[in-house]
Symmetry: C2
Subunit: 104 residues, 2 copies
Amino acid sequence: MSQFENVTAVKAANIYYDGKVTSRTLLFSDGSKKTLGILLPGDYEFGTEAAEIMEMLAGEVEVLLPGETEWQTVVGGETFNVPANSKFGIKVKTVADYCCSYIE
Amino acid sequence: MSQFENVTAVKAANIYYDGKVTSRTLLFSDGSKKTLGILLPGDYEFGTEAAEIMEMLAGEVEVLLPGETEWQTVVGGETFNVPANSKFGIKVKTVADYCCSYIE
């Protein structure tokens, strides 16, 4: 699906790490939420509240998922899952475009 | 208005200047279009096709509008207009969040 229809788009951006990580929030009629975001090259750590499905739309990152000891490469077209209430590391190799779905 | 309802959000980002300028496209039921974007600090030049209303949501930039010789400071909460089929310069001082409306 190349676009999301009948959604509510929050106007203000979510801005992290001095703007090197930013996203926009989309709210769906079923009460669910996604963010569309950009990751610029760098090393970051994020915490989750809800579980997340991270769909990489473009770019290349390495992720260290909770409980893992090895970084895993994820490129555009691939997806990784993060459990609720956890932390994960991400090393962004090239500008990355993503769609994150929150699973309540 | 802090959010846009009943819009179509294009999934893939628009990415310029190695990701230092990115935006997301929103399509409205009346056929109009807006983009929600982020500008990281730097100097850029953009060309327009449609006329644009640039609403700065956050951050500070200086703009050189077509036909002008002086740069003008624009901060979050302020707006500037760019004519169709023109070019403008923008110097981004602090991470800027914007909403751009295209006037066909």
